[in-house]
Amino acid sequence: MTALQEKLVFDKSDCIADRVTHYCPGCQHGVAHRLAGELLDEMGLSQKTLLVTSIGCSVFLYNYLNLDSVEAPHGRAPAVATGVKRSCPDKFVLSYQGDGDLASIGMAEIMHCANRGEKVSIIFVNNTVYGMTGGQMAPTTLEGQKTTTSPAGRNPLKEGMPIKMSEIIATLGGTAYCARVALNNIKNIRQAKKALKKAFEVQVNGLGFGFVEILSTCPTNWRMTPVQANERIENEMIPYFPLGVYKDITAGEEV
């Protein structure tokens, strides 16, 4: 009998379900889920986390993280999260929204949730399109970007400029932490995890609202290969949506 020689050096963390995801190849929703799941386990939060899932490609998040979860109507996750946290202040409340969900239909809910300083953490995945419904224009769609409802490219004269959520959320009184990160390379992924950790910490410490905007790919609706999609984040998205910490009341630092 030969004993197994390999040593396991890396495994998925407990919170992440053993299930194949439905995401398209090269989509970074899965990476964002993974970061959140790893952190919840590392910070010892998964047993007390109540998850609010939203509408969009990430609607099945509750199938991928082994957490108690409730599904919110389109855009309303911050209001649902408010109800969860107010009824159970001792729990850790996490929500996850796309850009159509958070910055369009749910604009009022996110602004007021942040402004009230609800002690919840929101992960905001910005891929500049409505993914699930087939690639329509989102509030974050870049100038000139072609989508199925902006076939000639987004025209700021008719459709306005892409909304910069992190900059807006940072101005609201109840926000304790707000940062924008990207998942296009290892360095940025590490940075993203750090930002998420900070956002989770401000909730754990009862300091206020935590918000992390993640620039993420949608190769399918961008009509790109996964590699091209990663390059688009670097070359087109980051210049308009600069990465960084926009508010951190623990550091007294504002960018």
């Binding site: 047993q47 986390t49 509750y62 957490l67 979860s69 109507p73 209001a79 109800g83 107010r86 009824s87």
Partner: protein, 354 residues
């Protein structure tokens, strides 16, 4: 009875106090006349007992906060009036689809659109037939006095948990703004009907609880709807109505809520004049008391439905008795406050006596 006292309060406050007696912990609302007494009362009363009050940014947000609190098994409520209830319909459909217990209060005003802030029963269709999307039902209870409003608030929570479903208390500007003596009471026992089996507490050493209304798998939604349909059918056990002077009546007037109460006074006056007329007041509007009404039809009674609208509940009355007889209808226009005298002529006309 524990915590019993006799107090003089508005219908709105009676509902608020009843809800607190029933164990309410979270209230989410947004101002709209004629129900502002409820959020105003809650803003002081709930924090005082360690509960939570949130004035939301909109009715949409308030009712979605309700989803969040209901998901944790916490007794929660929202209240509004007609235009605000239109906005709450999104969350009501999701509450029903995700099987979450919560109480929604609608103290109606005149419509359509902005209408006025006076009394009306124009929200019957919206409440009873489901103003939100999809196949769902909600228990709808319509009290007619401040005492009944208090008692109904307590009962509504029990039913919401029993059926894991939203329950609506349907009142109007008359009930909300009217002051009456109310005897308060607190239930000795609060039954959450094993909410621990489904609510969110953190998946600590057990499989996760997932509260959702999305069922994409083949046949999954059909199975969900079959289960919901059975549940809605079983709610018939809760059917409730008041019958007043029906025994020997030739004509039965069907009226609910505040109008039912005003009609009762009309009937008292007409009885004194020797007219054989009775009142059938549905208390549960969904499920509708069709069987009891049908029995009266089989006994040869005539029917007149009186509502404070252009004719909504009358459709359910007609459905209930359609194989035997029909119902006349008298609609008192929204925007005005009826008195018992206003109903005398229509009743006599329907009896053929005038």
């Amino acid at each position: 009875m524990p915590n019993s006292e006799r107090i003089f309060i508005k219908g709105n406050e009676a509902i608020a106090r009843g809800a607190i007696a029933a164990g309410l912990k979270c209230y989410f609302g947004y101002p709209i006349t004629p129900q502002n007494d409820i959020p105003e009362f809650m803003s002081a009363a709930l924090p005082a007992i360690g509960g939570e009050f949130v004035q939301a940014e909109s009715e949409v947000a308030a009712s979605n906060m309700l989803i969040g609190a209901a998901a944790t098994g916490t007794r929660c409520m929202t209240s509004s009036s007609s235009p605000g209830i239109s906005l709450k319909q999104e969350a009501i459909s999701y509450l029903a689809g995700s099987q979450l217990p919560a109480v929604v209060v609608n103290m109606t005003r005149g419509g359509p659109g902005l209408g006025d802030i006076g009394p009306s029963q124009g929200d019957y269709f919206q409440s009873v037939k489901g103003g939100g999307h999809g196949d769902y039902r909600m228990l709808v209870i319509a009290p007619s006095t401040c005492q009944e409003a208090y008692d109904t608030a307590i009962k509504a929570f029990d039913l919401a948990y029993k059926y894991r479903n939203p329950v609506m208390i349907l009142g109007d500007a008359i009930l909300g703004q009217m002051k009456e003596p109310v005897t308060t009471w607190t239930p000795d026992h609060i039954d959450d009907h094993n909410s621990d089996n489904w609510c969110l507490t953190g998946a600590d050493g057990r499989d996760s609880h997932i509260l959702r209304s999305l069922f994409l798998g083949e046949g999954e939604l059909a199975a969900h709807n079959i289960m919901l349909e059975k549940k809605y059918k079983s709610m018939e056990a809760e059917i409730d109505q008041e019958m007043f002077e029906c025994e020997d009546a030739e004509l039965i007037v069907v009226a609910y809520g505040s109008i039912g109460r005003i009609v009762k006074s009309t009937i008292r006056n007409l009885r004194k004049k020797g007219y054989k007329v009775g009142l059938f007041r549905p208390i549960t509007l969904y499920p509708f008391p069709s069987e009891a009404m049908k029995k009266l039809a089989l006994a040869g009674k005539k029917f007149l439905t009186i509502e404070h609208n252009l004719g909504q509940m009358v459709e359910d009355v007609r459905l209930s008795i359609r194989t035997i007889t029909d119902s006349d209808f008298f609609g008192f226009y929204p925007g005005n406050l009826p008195t018992p005298d206003d109903f005398e002529d229509p009743i006599l006309k329907s009896m053929g006596g005038k």
